[in-house]
Every structure is written in C-alpha cells, then in structure tokens.
Amino acid sequence: MDLKLHLDFCFFVNADLVVTAGWTPRPQTDLVLHAGNASIPPRTMMRFARRDLRTMVPQGFIAIFDLSQEPGANDPSEELFLAMGRDYQALTRDRLAADFAKMVEIGVDETFFAYVRMIASGAVPAPEKPVSHRVVSRILAAPRLDKESPDYVLSVDQGVVGAAGQGVCTGWYIPSIASSEGLSALVISDRQLSPVQLMPGVMPRPDLQPFSDRYAFSGRDGWAASFRLPTPPTTPVRLVLMLPGQLIHSGVVRALDVASSDQVARVLVETTQAVEDRLLAARLHRGTLPPSKDPLPVLQVPPQVQDGPVLLILDHDLTDMDLRDVLRRVAAVVERPLQLHLLRAQLTEALNEAVAGASREAGSPIQLAGCSLTPPTPQGHDGQAIFARSSVLFHLEGGIATEATEDGPTLSIWALDPMANLPGGADPAAVARRFLTDRPPFAVQGPARVLLSPFAHPTAFLTPEAALRQTAAAMLATRDARILAAPAQGFLAGNRGPFCQNLIEGISWHDFDGHSARLISEAA
C-alpha cells in the first residue's frame, strides 16, 4: 500500500502562513514543516475524503503552518520542507509563488472548499485581488446545495446588509445525524470574500419539533451570524453557508437584503436578545463592527478663517418648528454666518420655515447647507464647526465659543455631566472618563475638518453623536481636546428626530451605539 505523502499544492497566503494541500493514506499524518532549524507543526489541519482517490476514507488534507511561531522560520532565505515521518517534500519558491492560483484553478473540489472553509473559520485570511476574484468565481460556479436533503435541513430566515457593510443573518440548521462539525459561512461582495461570525445552535427553536422524526432536532437549532465587510458594498452581497462534509458543493447561497443601518441594528438587537449566552450575543454584535477604532483625525488643519461661516451640525431633537428658536439663540451667540447641516432624513415644511424664520431675525445669514442623517464629509470645510443636539444648545443658551485657539486643544467639548456639579464630581479626569462611560449629551466645537473626519467613511454607529464622541474621546486622550462640564441642572432632553427612536421597546439608537462603542473599546 502506498503510504507516501503526496503534495499537490503549497503556497504562501502572507509572509508567515504557508498552506499545503495533498493526500496520504496514512490516518495519522504527523505533518511537520521544516524551515531551517525550525520544525513547525500545522496550526490548523483538515482531513477529507476525495472522490478522485475513489475512497470514502479521508485521505486528503490541507494544513496551515505559521512560520511566525518559531524564531527565524520566516527568513526568506531558509528552504522549506514538508515532512511526514521520513518522507520529505521540498516546498520550492516557484511553487510557493504559483500554486495558489493553480489550486484555485485545478485543485479538486474537496481541497478547494476545504481551503474556503479555512477562510470562513479565520484560519487563513481572505485572499486579495486578483486571486479573490478567481476564488469567488469558482465558488459561484460550483454546484449548490438545496435547502433540504435527507442529510440535513437548513433555512435562512433573515439576511440583511447595511450600507456600511454590516450584516446580520439568522436561520436554523438540523442535520440528520448530530455532528461536532458545524456550519460555516462567508459573504461575497464586490467579488471579495469576507468571513462571517457564525454561531450554530445558539438560539432555542422549539418550533422545529416537527422535524424531529427525520433529523437530529435538538431544540436549539437556530444559528445566527454577523459580519462587517472591509469596504461598503457596491454590488449585491451573497451569503454562502457551507455545510459539514459537503465539500463538492459551494453550499447554500442566499442574496442578502439591503437594509438601512437602523434596520440592520434592529435585526441584530432582536437576534442578540434571542441568544441566551450573553458572551455570544456580544460577539455577534461585535461582528458587525469595524475591527478597531477609527484612526485619529489628521490634526494638521489649514489656518482657520476667523470670521467665516460656522458649520452647525445639528441633531434637532425638538419639534420641527422649535428649530427657529434654537437657531436664533446660536446665531445670537456666534455672531457669524451659520451654515446649517440638519441631521434629518428630510426637510419638512416646518423645518424649512423655521430656518427661514431664524434667518429673518438673525444678524448674520443662516443658510441651510445640507439635510441628511449623516454629516458631510470633511472636504471643502475649512472653517469652524459645532455639533450638538438642539436640546443641548437650547439648554446652553447657544453659549459655546467658536474662536479657534492659537495653541490650545483642537476640540472643545461641553458635556452635560450631572455629576460634575456634585462635591466630588468635578475632577477633569473623571469628567473625561464619564464622557465615554456615562455618555452624557454634549456639544463639541472645533475645526470642521477635524469634526467631520469620522464621516469621511461609514461609521460604526447609528448616530453621528456616537461617532463624534469616539473621536472626541480619542482626542481627549491625546490632549488634542478639552472637556468642560457644562451645567446639567435643569437639562431636558428632546425626544424627537430620527436618533431618539427606539430600535425595539426600551432600546434606543443611542443605547445601541453605546453598546457598540463599549464593544469596540473592549476589543481595543
């Protein structure tokens, strides 16, 4: 019997990770990668049956080696050998460079889809262009699985993706025989692959009891998944659900519904509430968020135009007609032309009249520069800017300075921190800490370029306030911002406008953003 090691493909997926794929009849492979003096066991390995070997015995393998595990192993001058006992195969540099494309092109289905599963599990990173295009093409060209067969039954109940690339999917899956191997999934967007945080068996589904006569019903057969694409999608997004042992098919492919950010958030909240394990629920939420905090804005701002218009980015949380009074107050304090960006989905008649009315009374012009739920991008904004909720500006009597300081911090933050007025609550460090933890309402003022920097790309948040809080907090940490505890006594928050809505009963958009911010912060 031939018990040798057969190496079909070997390639780098990055400077440290080497993928090897082949077959051997040996049940125990004991594969080792030798790099110079280092001997490295596989970090991840998968065995599977291959049709071309005409046996159901899992003789195929794919193994991932991490050269960074051993010092010096990733030295490019070192030769690499794959060993199984005394059987050695040299991994030549030309193969390491060329085999990736070959595997995608001519590798047997089982090897290819085993590799795809490793992307899904995060064992290897998703390939970059142009290989990713070929991988995607092969996945999409492969035969797909039906939602139901004698071996399993699977459903995708919900699948939504937002404009920022955040997505949530739910469904259920019951195999005919209980297996330790679970579902895995990827999403395809813009001919790129992205891994999905898929959690099988996390949601109770007693309603699936009728399937128990044909499948291994457990009562907890609901799965949930979340993801965030590296860039906002420009083409339809597809979910590929890969079933255990089904390596000659791509899996079940489902096009996801494009939804607004709040709709995605609502699905996420409903799903996480159904997940009993809070750790898993948090992980699911985390899966929709960017991997890290947004980078700090570039602080080299051009010289400020001292008497130019001030950009007011306003979360108007009062009745529409009350906008007039808020603008009047701000205009009276700023004493400079105001350019208003109203954070509303649409300009109602009452809002339009309110802007016009305030403009009639103000000493300087008030111009509506924009009306959308997202602030403008930084380009073209060289003056000063203010962001606040209307109720905050009303409470502060519009009294926030707009002078750019010569050498002072870039941003000024007025936090309505009720604890700051208590005998032991005024410590500036505590005010800064509570700004992030207690998330009090605030107004912030500074160069428009800095203030708008979080909005150059889609943010992780539903509300611009949360994105600005994160930026402001980061700048506080680097002393590029100052925080002032504004008197909070008597503050009455508004409850109107898009950002005061509840996603579901008891959880508002601001609550959701607070949770997202905590998850991002914990991950950092």
Binding site: L318, T319, M321, D322, R324, D325, E349, A350, E353, A356, G357, R360, E361, S391, F394, G490, L492, A493, G494, N495, R496
Partner: protein, 409 residues
C-alpha cells in the same frame, strides 16, 4: 398726535370674547375722543377665513381704521405662525400702520415671531400687552386647568409634560419663548390681580404688570329698589355665558337638581334663567343631566342688552370651574347693580370679594346651599346690592391706561 394701534387675536364683529371686546371698546372710545387709533383683529383659523374672505384676500376693512386680518391658523402651543409668509404679512401690515403705540390684547394669531420682529423694526415704539388669560403659562387653552379636570396651581416643565403628554423640553422651550416675548413689551397689563400674581409666580418680575380693570361704559346706577321688587328678585337667579365645560353650567344644573329635591324646604317659588345657552346646546354637552322645570334656557342675547336683562334678577351666578381672569359678566352685573354668587377661585373671587357670595368651585352642594341661603331674602339682596361699586368706565380706563403706559393724553 400719538398713533395707537390696538391689536387683538380676534375681532368682535366675528367672535364675541372678553379680550377682543375689551380691546374693541378701547378702540371705539379712543376713536370717539378723536385720537389717531387703529384696530387690527383677526379671524381665528382657516375655517373662518374661508367663510369671510375671498381668494387671495388677507384683510377685511370695516372702516379705514378698523381691520380684520385673515387668520391662517396658529397652534396655541407654539404661538408662532406655521408659515413664515403669514408672519411676514402680519409684520408688514402692522409696520405699515406706523404706530407710535402698539397695544396687543393677546398674541395668538399674531405670533411671537411677529412681535419679536416688530420690536426689532420699531425699537422706539411703545409696545403694550394686556394679558387676558394664562396662555403664556399654560398650553391647555391658557386656563391652568389640567387635562384631568383639576385646577392647576403652578406650571412646571415636568408637570406640564405629564398633563399634556409631551416632552418636558417642549415646555421649557415654550416658556423661554413666551418669557422672551413678554420681555419685549414696555408695559404689561392685567385686568386682575389674580392673573398678575400668577405671572409673577411664573417668573415675570414683581411690579412689572400693572393691574387695570377692563373699561365698560354704563348708565348711572339703578335707583334703590322697593321691598316688593327686592322680594321678587331675591327669588330669581340667572346665568350668563356659554356652554363650554369650564364655565361650570353643569355645576349649576346639578345644584338646581339638588334644590329641586328639597323644594319643600323653600319658602317661595324659585326661578333660574340661563342666557347664552339653549336647552338643546346644553343637552348635547350633558345629556345625562335633567334640568328642573323652573330652570329655563333662554338662548342667545344681544350683548348690549345684557345689563338691562340682569337688572330683572336678584342674583347672577358665575359657577366657572376654571380660574377666570376678569369676566365681562362680573362688570356687567356691577353695572346692573345685581350681586353675584361666584366660584371662590381666581378672578371671580377677587372681583366679587366685597359684594358677592362665594361658594366652593365645582361643588353643586355648596352652590345649592348658597342659593338657598339668599333665596327669598330681600334683606340679604339689599345688603349686597348696596355694596356694589360701579365698574370702571372707559374714560376711567383710559386715564389709568395712560398713567400705566406713560402715554400722554
């Protein structure tokens, strides 16, 4: 000559409320005295506008000095024109009158924005406002009666939010807007001390509001009544007003029903006439109440006939369940020389303090007791009638008004 512009939220040619009537009487008096005076009223809302105005028409001119603007409808919570073009037009019209004095009787249908801008455009004009009710303080029709029906003793953002089912910040903003607007007036007037006290408790500086009763021209006081007439009248009671729930007509009917049950206790017949309300109008509001036979609904009456009608009765009853300010009916009763039985709250208690009989507001038993105590008692009627002082006439009002507002004759 000083040009005076009297501005009212309504026009008595179209609607006969206390505030607009007081404003119009002031206008007529000044006009009769040969002053340079204009009157600007308004229709209340779009319904009236469609009835009285043609397409594109914004003003009705009753004379070259007497105008009624087409009211386009104003939310009394905001006290602002919903459409800026209406504010612009109102402002243009008022400015075009080139007044030296602008006396506002109310600001509904005028708008806070109009007043702010008028103040900005005419910084040297004398701007006066008469507070006819509590609208600046209370968004529930300016009555300081809670939506649950209880009397309200003080406004607060949170309590008002609970009452009106709105966010507290809405009330903070409204308070700020109203307060800012009142600050713009050179003079604030109130027809009652009660109302002035409420505004001072709300935040208007003490002493800033001058109290001047509304003027009412009237005949010389009636001659002393002989005993037979006193006996007859002491058995006759009357109500003058509308069937709105806050006027307390239901309290009066309940009191009448109680008296009817005790009819055997009465020493003589009793009569109660209701003016301003028909039996049908009353039944529509309170179908479950059955007025006794001796209570008659007389329907509408001409305002100019009111005093002479009142002189046929012994007692005028004002059972309002809201505070009232300075009800015209009290001045009219004074002009008629007829004493009153009044709710013991607000402007009613203040204005009938020396010559009326008060009962616990909203309490039919207390009202029934009060009516029975004076029924068929000519001595009590004579005693109270003698205590009535004539109401301020328009000449007296004008005199006090000029002093309070610093306007020379």
């Amino acid at each position: 000559m000083t040009r005076i512009v009297i501005v009212s939220h309504s026009h008595p040619a179209l609607r006969y409320g206390g505030g607009e009537v007081a404003a119009y009487r002031q206008f007529q008096h000044l006009l009769a005295q040969g002053h340079d005076v204009y009157f600007v009223g308004s229709t209340i809302g779009p319904e009236d506008g469609a009835r009285f105005f043609g397409p594109g028409q914004r003003i009705l001119g009753f004379s070259d000095r007497d105008f009624c603007m087409r009211g386009m409808g104003m939310d009394s919570f905001s006290m602002e024109h919903p459409r800026l073009e209406d504010e612009d037009w109102t402002l243009d019209f008022l400015t075009a009158l080139r007044g030296d004095v602008y006396h506002f009787h109310h600001f509904w249908n005028i708008g806070a924005g109009t007043i702010r801008r008028l103040r900005g455009l005419l910084p040297d004009a004398r701007m006066i406002c008469t507070l006819h009710e509590l609208t600046a303080i209370c968004a529930n029709h300016g009555q300081m009666v809670k939506t649950s029906g209880e009397l309200c003793h003080a406004a607060s953002d949170v309590a008002c939010a609970a009452c009106m089912n709105r966010a507290p910040v809405d009330f903070a903003l409204r308070r700020a807007r109203m307060s800012e607007m009142l600050d713009l007036f050179d003079v604030l007037l109130s027809p009652s001390r009660f109302l002035a006290n409420r505004f001072e408790a709300w935040g208007v500086s003490e002493g800033r509001i001058a109290v001047i009763e509304n003027g009412l021209d009237h005949q010389a006081p009636p001659a002393l009544l002989d005993n037979d007439t006193l006996v007859t009248r002491s058995r006759r009671f009357a109500f003058f007003g509308q069937a709105t729930p806050t006027k307390g007509l239901d309290v009066l009917v309940r009191a009448a029903m109680l008296i009817d049950k005790r009819m055997g206790d009465l020493s003589a017949p009793i009569a109660l006439d209701v003016y301003g309300v028909t039996a049908e109008g009353f039944a529509a509001l309170w179908p479950q109440l059955k007025a006794p036979d001796w209570m008659r609904f007389r329907g509408r009456y001409r305002p100019q006939d009111c005093v002479s009608i009142m002189q046929g009765f012994g007692w005028i009853i004002i059972p309002s369940v809201w505070w009232e300010n300075s009800p015209v009916v009290i001045q009219e009763a004074r002009a008629a020389g007829t004493p009153m039985i009044a709710s013991d709250i607000g402007g009613m208690a203040e204005k009938t303090a020396d010559w009326g009989i008060q009962f616990r507001a909203g309490d039919p038993d207390a009202l029934a007791d009060a009516m029975q105590r004076v029924h068929d008692r000519p001595d009590i009627l004579a005693q109270h009638s003698a205590l009535i002082k004539e109401p301020l006439n328009l000449e007296g009002f004008d005199r006090e008004w000029r002093v309070a507002c610093g306007i020379s004759a």
